[in-house]
Structures are given as structure tokens and as C-alpha cells.
């Protein structure tokens, strides 16, 4: 049955486009820059989404995380650098992760389930997400990010905490995803 449907649909398409002119793709827009992304711009754009952002030298990352987690215990996905955060056992109330790529222009963080990022569910269920971004992971724009990413990995693009504007268009942070997103950017 499905085989018949497949043939019918493909046949319908072929007869529909028969004789239609060739359509060339025009790419006049700004493409890949290949340059490093602007840390300040990235921080500002993430803050625009009402996320908390810390920009700190690499040497101070562990201390910064220790400060943030003084009142919290975070779940740690496999492969997260233990010199940055190594919690004691216990019930967690949030998650910490690294990321694959970050985009300055849009304030976006992309997770690709690589080391330190866990499964997609691990950074979704907790109400609090602390994400660590290294300066060299920040790219200027969307084309740069696409070029760096592998489409066949499970990807989650995150731009601020979960939000809805469904009630009279009032933006409310946090519906189903983590209601608080905190970002530590390690420079140098």
C-alpha cells in the first residue's frame, strides 16, 4: 500500500513540474566568516533572553562555578571536565553541561550530545541549566555554526530559557524546559 502511495506521489510530482523552468539558487547573503565570534556580543545577546551570564578568565572558571553551585547540586553528564566541577553524591536540582558551538549574533548555544553534554533529556528535565562555553566555541553567525556542526548528531539549539507568549503575548520564562539558564563563558 505504501509502495503504491509512493509511486503515485512521485508520479504526481513529475507531471506537476514537467516543463517548469530550472530554478537556480542565488546565495548573495553573508556566508561563513571563518572568524572568531565576539564574546561581548554573545554575552549581551544571551542576556537579552533573560539568562544569567558570567564572562571569566579560564583560570577562574572553577571558582565561578563553585560560587554558583554553593546552594545547588548539579547533575554532571559523562565527559564533563572534573577540574571545573566535581560534585558530591546526592539529589541534584539542576544540570551542568558543556556545548558544541555558540553563536554571537543570535545568542545561541548548540548542544550535540558530545562529551560533557549528556543526552538531550539530561539538559531538558531539570529546572536549572548551567552551560559552560569556551571562547573558541563562539562563532559570529548562523552560517559559521552550521559549517561547524554535524547534522547527523542529535542537536539542540538553545536561545535563552524556555518561554511562552501564548497568554495575551506576555512573555513568561519557563514552561517545560529549564526555567533558568545560566552561562559561564571561559575566555583565554
Amino acid at each position: 500500500m505504501s509502495a503504491a502511495a509512493r509511486e503515485v506521489i512521485l508520479r504526481r510530482i513529475r507531471s506537476a513540474v514537467e516543463g517548469a523552468p530550472e530554478a537556480e539558487i542565488v546565495r548573495g547573503y553573508k556566508g561563513i566568516t571563518g572568524e572568531p565570534g565576539d564574546v561581548e556580543l554573545f554575552a549581551e545577546r544571551v542576556r537579552d533572553y533573560k539568562a544569567v551570564v558570567h564572562v571569566v578568565p579560564r583560570a577562574e572558571v572553577a571558582a565561578t562555578i563553585a560560587g554558583i553551585t554553593a546552594q545547588r547540586l548539579l547533575a554532571v553528564p559523562e565527559g564533563f571536565p572534573s577540574h571545573w566541577y566535581a560534585p558530591s553524591e546526592g539529589e541534584t536540582d539542576g544540570v551542568i553541561s558543556t556545548c558544541a558551538v555558540a553563536i554571537a549574533e543570535t545568542g545561541t548555544i548548540v548542544l550535540d550530545a558530545g562529551p560533557g553534554q549528556g543526552t538531550r533529556a539530561q539538559t531538558l528535565i531539570p529546572d536549572y541549566h548551567l552551560c559552560l562555553v569556551r571562547e573558541d566555541q563562539i562563532v559570529p553567525n548562523v552560517p559559521d555554526a552550521i559549517a561547524r556542526l554535524d547534522a547527523t548528531r542529535p542537536l539542540t539549539w538553545i536561545s535563552g530559557p524556555s518561554a511562552t507568549s501564548d497568554i495575551e503575548l506576555n512573555r513568561v520564562e519557563g514552561v517545560h524546559g529549564p526555567r533558568t539558564l545560566e552561562v559561564v563563558i571561559a575566555i583565554g
Binding site: S2, A5, R6, V8, I9, L10, R12, I13, S15, A16, V17, A20, P21, E22, A23, E24, I25, V26, G28, Y29, K30, G31, R45, Y49, I103, G107, T108, A113, T119, R120, A121, L124, V142, P143, A145, I146, A147, A151, T152, R153, P154, L155, T156, W157, I158, S159, S162, A163, T164, S165, D166, I167, E168, L169, N170, V172, G174, V175, H176, G177
Partner: protein, 462 residues
């Protein structure tokens, strides 16, 4: 398309009713103007917007021209990544496939992410007939579903409800809603979070649509805000995605264009909070992709109308449309309201009903929709073309010809206006005789006592 709206009266009757509803008008106006402003500011940030739009348009046109090849490539890639691909000629076939897949899991409940394609085919109703409950998880869809109502906007389907109404709906229909629930948006969102959380954790089957499919890699892409999409796409063991065949993009690189065009045009954000991308069976899931035709190939066969298939459902055209702002989404009698609905619905469904025939007239041809469309769909041109194709009664044609004769000459117009002004009290709301066919589908505009032109001549001379 969906049986949901069958039997609805024609656009003008619906619109006339909606125009009287001041709450709806207020909500719509507030919403459309807010989003419009946000869109304009984030679009203005990109100095290559025109080039992105051109790329978006040409990528879509190119894909549609070779849709057969790209669909086959998509099928190969998804299959190679452990997914199963199904093809559905029409709504009934798609619904049958999904119902069978759900039954094979032994489940009777599924969670859903907002998807226009599944609304178009009336999937929830079809599943209900098979004893399967589908739970919408998008906050707005939840409001619509609990309120036993129809969506009114592509992006904010519950735009016609205010907070007090939403609180009422939750208290009445949401099991476990706190008795002291306030009408604060934050409290309402929290109630929905609690209500749906258990459902997400227990659900074994999820159904979604997709914003894009990448033929080169077999990847599916879903953009959202709340996180309910991520919940549905990642937690359940089985994921079924129903996607229109026109959602395809040839290459991974093409996504860089649409991830800039869509969020900025749609919610007026630089990027939406969450975008999920997955290829085939992911992280231990079972994955099914249902490729849906349901009228799309006949749209594709129309030289002028096929550009409607470029649509990425951003809803920018709704938010700028003066007719939509006044009439509201329900008047269009379709899951696709606004300017895009006026050209897509009659093409997908054919123009057999009076409602669908009246849709191409739900526009003043002002062209604002074309201007904001991120894939440059010339909606006014398609409207005009469809008007020509609709089988109109002779009276309708006579009415149009008479109007054309009057409006074409300014002197005749002035005369007609003065005459109309004097006769104002006597003008019936419906034209008599054969011309009633014209007023049946169009409002007679209220005739002002004095035309602007007369006022100007009189006052300007002082």
C-alpha cells in the same frame, strides 16, 4: 483537509460576526501589532535580509522543481539512519498510517507537538475514532483543546482568548488545576507545566510535524519556544513525524538561510528558544516519518499558485494583514488563516464550497503580505489568479463589472458617492435582485454622509 471546519459559512459571514466581537478585535490588534514591531526591529538588524530572502525563495523553488529526487534522497537517508518512511496520498491515508503505528505500540495515548499538517488532516479526531487520545502539549493548543475551540492564529492559536477566559478554561477542564489559580500568565503557565509534566514522563508515543527536512542528511528540524517540543521529541520511545512533502531542503547548508529567516519573521526574535534536529532513530528511539501529499501535488501543478508551497508558516503575512486583523483567524474556516490561508486553502481543497470560493476575496490586495513574506510569495498575484479561476455565479460577475465601471472613473465615482450619500437611509444592506449574489459574499460598505472628495472641495476653498 480537516473535517473540523466543514459546514462553516463563508468568509464574509464569519468575518462580519468576528468584527462585532470587540474582545477578539482587541486581542488580535494587540497581538499583531506587537509581533509586527518586534519583527521589523530584528529584521532591520540584518543588512543582508534582502539576499537571505532571495536565497530562501530560490532554494524553495529549486527544491520544488526537483521534489521527486529530493524526496527519494530523504527516504534513503532516514532509512539508512534506522528510521521508517511512509507515504500518504491524502489525509485519510496519513491518519490510517499513524493510527496503525500507534496501535502497534499497544498504547492508547499519545502526546503531540503543535503541527499544522496534523491539524490539516484532522489527525486528533481520526485517532479518537480509533480509541486513541492525542494530547496537545503546546500551551496555546492546550488552551484551544481544553476549551473545545478552534485555533485562530498560526503562531498564537489562542490569540482570541484573554487571561480571564484561559483561567476559566483551566479551572473547568484541566484535571488537578489549583482551585485558587490566578489569571497571572506566570501562574497559568505553571499550571500547564505541572499538568503536562506527568504526561510527558509517562508517554510512550509522540507525534510531531517538522519545520524542515534536509534531504542530504535525512535530518528533521523543529523550532519551538516552550520546551514541550523537546519533551515530545526526546522522551517517548516511539516518535512519529507527519510532514508535508514541501518542507524539504536539499542541503544542510540551506538551513543557515531558514534559521535566519524563520525566527525573525515569526516571533520577531533573533532565534527562538529551542530548535531540535535529529536524524533517523536517535538515542534509542523508534522513528517513523510520514510524507504527506494531501493536495500539495495539485498546488505544485499550478504555474502561478505553486509558489504558495514555498511558505514556511511564519505568520508574518497574518500580522500585517488589515483584513485578518479585523476578521480574525476563525473566519477563514481553515487551519491556514490569513493571506496565506486565502491562497493555500482553496488550492489544497479545491474551490468547490462557497467558503473556499470566497477566500480569494478575503483581501484588499494591499500587498503588505508580499512585502513581509520571507520567501517572497506574491500573495496578491495568486489571489487575483484564483479569483479568475473560481466559478462565480453570473450575478457575482455582474456586480464586479458594475463596481469596476464606477471605480474606474473619478467623475462617475464622485457622482455615485453623492447619490449614495443622499440615498444613505434608503440603501439596504443587501443589493436586490441579481446583485444579491455580490452582497451575499461582500459587505456593503457604510456610505458616509459626505464623501472626502466633497468635503475637500468645500473646505479647501475657504
Amino acid at each position: 483537509m480537516s473535517g473540523t471546519f466543514v459546514g462553516m459559512p463563508t468568509f464574509p459571514k464569519n468575518a462580519a460576526k468576528a468584527v462585532q466581537d470587540s474582545q477578539l478585535r482587541f486581542n488580535l490588534r494587540k497581538a499583531t501589532h506587537t509581533i509586527r514591531g518586534k519583527r521589523a526591529s530584528v529584521v532591520g538588524e540584518l543588512d543582508d535580509w534582502a539576499e537571505l530572502r532571495e536565497a530562501g525563495k530560490t532554494i524553495k523553488d529549486h527544491t520544488l522543481r526537483h521534489l521527486d529526487d529530493y524526496l527519494i534522497q530523504m527516504e534513503e537517508k532516514v532509512t539508512a539512519a534506522g528510521g521508517t518512511v511512509h507515504w500518504a496520498r491524502d489525509a485519510a491515508e496519513a491518519n490510517r498510517i499513524v493510527a496503525r503505528l500507534v496501535k502497534e505500540t499497544g498504547e492508547t495515548e499519545v502526546v503531540k507537538v503543535k503541527s499544522m499538517a496534523t491539524q490539516e488532516i484532522g489527525l486528533n479526531e481520526a485517532l479518537a475514532e480509533e480509541g486513541i487520545n492525542a494530547y496537545e502539549t503546546d500551551l496555546a493548543e492546550l488552551i484551544v483543546q481544553l476549551g473545545d475551540d478552534f485555533p485562530s492564529h498560526i503562531l498564537v492559536p489562542a490569540i482570541h482568548r484573554n487571561r480571564a477566559e484561559i483561567r476559566e478554561i483551566f479551572l473547568k477542564h484541566m484535571a488537578g488545576a489549583p482551585k485558587d489559580l490566578s489569571d497571572e500568565p506566570r501562574a497559568l503557565a505553571e499550571a500547564a507545566r505541572v499538568y503536562l509534566r506527568q504526561r510527558f514522563l509517562e508517554a510512550k508515543v509522540a507525534i510531531s510535524g517538522a519545520n524542515f527536512m534536509i534531504a542530504e542528511t535525512g535530518t528533521l528540524v523543529v523550532l519551538e519556544s516552550e520546551g514541550n517540543g523537546r519533551m515530545c521529541l526526546t522522551l517517548p520511545k516511539t516518535l512519529i513525524s507527519v510532514v508535508g512533502i514541501e518542507k524539504l531542503l536539499p542541503t544542510w547548508q540551506d538551513l543557515e538561510v531558514f534559521l535566519q529567516l524563520l525566527p525573525r519573521s515569526s516571533t520577531g526574535e533573533r532565534m527562538n528558544p529551542y530548535t531540535s534536529m535529529w536524524t533517523g532513530a536517535t538515542e534509542g528511539q523508534e522513528f517513523h516519518l510520514v510524507l504527506l501529499d494531501n493536495g500539495r501535488t495539485s498546488v505544485l501543478a499550478d504555474k502561478v499558485g505553486r509558489q504558495a508551497l514555498r511558505c514556511i508558516r511564519c505568520s508574518a503575512c497574518l500580522n500585517v494583514c488589515p483584513v485578518y486583523e479585523r476578521a480574525g483567524g476563525h473566519a477563514y474556516g481553515s487551519v491556514y488563516p490569513g493571506p496565506i490561508g486565502a491562497i493555500l486553502t482553496p488550492q489544497l481543497r479545491g474551490m468547490d464550497t462557497p467558503l473556499d470560493r470566497s477566500l480569494p476575496y478575503a483581501s484588499s490586495l494591499c500587498g503588505a503580505c508580499y512585502e513581509v513574506c520571507p520567501v517572497a510569495i506574491d500573495i496578491p498575484a495568486v489571489l487575483v489568479d484564483l479569483r479568475g479561476k473560481a466559478r462565480h455565479t453570473r450575478a457575482e460577475k455582474a456586480g464586479m463589472a458594475a463596481a469596476g465601471w464606477v471605480f474606474n472613473r473619478s467623475k462617475r465615482l464622485a457622482k455615485a458617492q453623492r447619490f449614495g450619500g443622499r440615498m444613505r437611509k434608503l440603501v439596504p444592506k443587501r443589493l436586490p435582485g441579481p446583485l444579491s449574489g455580490w452582497t451575499d459574499t461582500r459587505d456593503m460598505p457604510d456610505i458616509p454622509a459626505e464623501s472626502f472628495r466633497d468635503w475637500w472641495m468645500r473646505e479647501g476653498k475657504r
